[in-house]
Point group: C2
Chain length 183, copies 2
């Protein structure tokens, strides 16, 4: 199967704590678009850290740079007609605002992955919270580094009460209401 | 018109001096692919410098980083099924080799824009050579910073003897011989 690029591409920006379900939802949203014949691309924080952002640390300054680069990549993908799905903790309001400016507000869908710190820490899929509590890693969002909630996201997804398919449905419905060209 | 992404996307990497015709050829190659219904994206050095690489200088270290980021972006575009057309001086063999490794050799088409320094300096479209000779800008490739020719490019394009449409024909013919899915 081959996919069409979009005349009105946009960026879905998933922000939230580690373990809040960003990558899982990003993959399922990607599957939704691909199944519908739309070119889409996941820009995942962990993948960026292995590639484009492999030179960056987790200091607040470098996190800002990480967010900036992710936004520039999303913008390039959008310019090529590809829907970008960014899955990135992106903890600071100011950095997400800058990202929105790079991508342009008309094309920027901020999704707040709102699972609580307790829930995310209980999951601890990658064992990172345990390490952060032991001070084996520093600057860990929610433990030793701040997370600022979005004031006005397009939607809020709490994966402690919603399944992945419910989450996809909610995001797609919100996109249909706010963006052109979502099937 | 809408465009199809490719199952076998690749990166066209145009390297050469400032004024050798990289951006002009990149735009015409982009037009060729779009006219043929294929999703394509120009990754232009000057545009990168205004966006993703706006934090970098023209030191050799930062030029390497510039090339690295361009390669990562091209790889992301390729992974999304989009043909990437990179127009970047990328003066050093080692940096282009690293870029090839990021993109993978099977998907990397190196095009050497071989117009001589004399020709490029005579054109001086952006007035940069004049500034470089006056030492008003430093680290300028060909004047105060090295350019290493590719030893074995896919093709060599000398825009002092070839027109833009002839150059496009030569590049597309070479791509057809070496890559799948070029119409």
């Amino acid at each position: 199967m081959r996919y069409l690029v979009s005349e009105t591409p946009f960026t879905i920006w998933l922000t939230g704590l580690s373990g809040s379900g960003k990558t899982t939802l990003a993959k399922q949203l990607h599957k939704f678009f691909i199944d519908n014949g739309c070119a889409a691309c996941v820009v995942d924080g962990d993948a960026l850290r292995r590639g484009l952002c492999s030179d960056l640390t987790f200091s607040l300054e470098h996190r800002s740079e990480n967010v900036r680069r992710a936004a520039e990549v999303a913008s390039i993908l959008n310019n090529a007609g590809v829907i970008a799905i960014v899955a990135l903790i992106s903890p600071l309001v100011l950095d997400r605002k800058s990202a929105c400016n790079v991508i342009t507000a008309d094309s920027f869908a901020e999704i707040y992955m709102s699972a609580s710190l307790d829930v995310c820490e209980l999951r601890d899929v990658k064992g990172l919270y345990e390490k952060a509590r032991r001070n084996e890693i520093c600057d860990f969002t929610g433990v030793s580094s701040p997370y600022e909630r979005p004031a006005n996201p397009l939607v809020e997804i709490d994966t402690s009460v919603l399944s992945v398919s419910e989450s996809v449905d909610i995001v797609i419905s919100a996109l249909r209401r706010n963006f052109n060209g979502v099937q």
